[in-house]
């Protein structure tokens, strides 16, 4: 394989992986922007979303697309509920209390999945029964000599489309405006007649829906479902959010892509280092925290006048 083809192959892989990280990272960054809370259960919400899709498809033999939609909606509902039950009572408590609760929520969801769904890994591809979907999974396209699975393209396109919708919601819609206002000043937003808890709940639902979408695409590419599958992607996405500048949505995209590219390219150009692939992400995190703690696109907190 010549250099260019090799590069192209990895480029698409990196784009896909980075996009998936970015989708999860957005959930961290939106919640942080509003509540200054790192929702450590976010990766586990992604895992729950994948299980929702898996069981909807397997138990009700519904087509994969329907299963995905049900799962995304289910995850949104779960995110909303987690905020109501676990975080809302702690809105006025010290931030550390909410943070510890988030870690607890993460353990709870993982244990819940072990008990209810079982700890054994399940092949996600079981949800694809029709011929068409098998074609989608296995078809390979030739791009400039590189063999790129059709699935990779679909994931990249879908990720782009989701981000387009997300940016419309956050920057053009009314509720998006309220979300941004809350991230600047909660009491004043309430003075505008806006139900702040409702908007916060919406933010959790939105972030969780994106995590589930990412998780489902993840499971199509790395096809096992298990209770701890949310941990590493969640960790990476958290790093992506911090590297990009936590609280900034464009930052989460940049951070996610950066992490995806670094991970794929270090492993493919230095195969002997592949055992350290996860370590690279953490090294990036340490470097950013040392040299630019506010992240690539993060702003220093604006002093309120």
């Amino acid at each position: 394989m010549n250099q260019e083809v090799f590069f192209l192959q990895n480029f698409f892989n990196a784009l896909m992986l980075g996009g998936l990280y970015a989708l999860i990272a957005v959930g961290y960054t939106m919640v942080y922007g509003i509540l200054r809370l790192i929702n450590f259960a976010h990766g586990d919400i992604m895992m729950m979303g994948v299980y929702f899709a898996f069981y909807t498809a397997v138990l009700f033999s519904s087509p994969p697309l329907i299963a995905a939609i049900v799962a995304v909606a289910g995850a949104a509902g779960l995110g909303f509920l987690i905020d109501r039950i676990a975080y809302k009572p702690l809105r006025n408590a010290p931030r550390i209390s909410a943070l510890i609760t988030a870690i607890g929520m993460s353990f709870f969801l993982e244990s819940f999945a072990v008990v209810v769904f079982g700890a054994v890994q399940k092949p996600f591809v079981q949800i694809f029964k029709t011929k068409e979907s098998k074609v989608i999974l296995n078809k390979v396209l030739m791009v400039g000599g590189a063999r790129i699975p059709l699935l990779t393209f679909l994931v990249i396109l879908l990720t782009l489309a989701i981000f387009a919708v997300l940016f419309l919601i956050v920057y053009k819609s009314k509720i998006g405006m309220a979300m941004r206002a809350i991230s600047m000043d909660i009491p004043t937003t309430a003075l505008m007649g806006i139900n702040v808890d409702g908007v916060i709940g919406f933010t959790f639902a939105l972030g969780s829906a994106l995590a589930a979408a990412s998780g489902i695409m993840w499971a199509m590419r790395y096809p096992n479902v298990y209770p701890y599958m949310g941990f590493m992607p969640g960790m990476k996405a958290f790093i992506a959010a911090v590297v990009g500048g936590i609280g900034s949505i464009p930052g989460a995209v940049v951070g996610g892509l950066l992490l995806g590219f670094i991970e794929i390219f270090t492993v493919s150009y230095f195969p002997t280092m592949s055992g350290y692939r996860d370590a690279f992400s953490f090294i990036i995190l340490i470097l950013i925290l040392m040299f630019k703690p506010s992240g690539i696109l993060g702003k220093k907190a604006i002093e309120k006048v």
Binding site: K174, M177, A178, R180, A181, S183, M184, D185, P187, T188, T189, A190, L191, M192, G193, I194, N195, V196, I302, K304, V305
Partner: protein
Amino acid sequence: MSEELVLKIEGLHVYYGAIHAIKGIDVKVPKGKIITLIGANGAGKTTTLSTIAGLVKAKSGKVIFKGRDITNRPAHLVNKMGIALVPEGRRIFPGLTVYENLMMGAYNRKDREEVEKDLEWIFELFPRLKERLKQLGGTLSGGEQQMLAISRALMSRPRLLMMDEPSLGLAPILVEEVFDVIKKINQEGTTILLVEQNALGALKISHYGYVLETGSIVLEGPSKELLKNDMVRKAYLGVA
């Protein structure tokens, strides 16, 4: 008073932890008037407004708005009923544009045409805001931010407009402009509850005033009379 009351506060007590911030005050705001609360720093003026707005909980007493008890309702519901607050320090959303800041004020309104009309009215009141619609709120000067804060509150078409120290930190020429605008807004039909440390300015444009000292009302009366009152002149107007 036989006038129709927009707001009535009865025996209001507010605590911050162990601190007794408001010690049983009674305030009446008749329709169409400007009522002012004056007093020094820490007298409880901001606390009173925050309690009405639903940001701070009352321990006892009542806040009655147009005949309905709204004591301790959450802030967003108080706003929906028709009370808007221009908070102390303006509290513009710095990362939203001037236009978005204005639309935050009109968040719950469905009457788009009327919102447009109100926007035009606001541009008449503050022509400078129209020039700056696409600018971020945080980039405005202090005076412009105050105008934006007032406009944002007006965009909800409040029955009662409460203002917390609108003249604070402004250049003298702007202070006068702000008081003129308050008067104008009132003349066009909005009832106003004004909190000020600038007692002279507030008493000049208001109809009735209350003097607040460490959480209690020590004096009240028509603003014209308060302006002549010896104690007010000594303590708040700096005239012997």
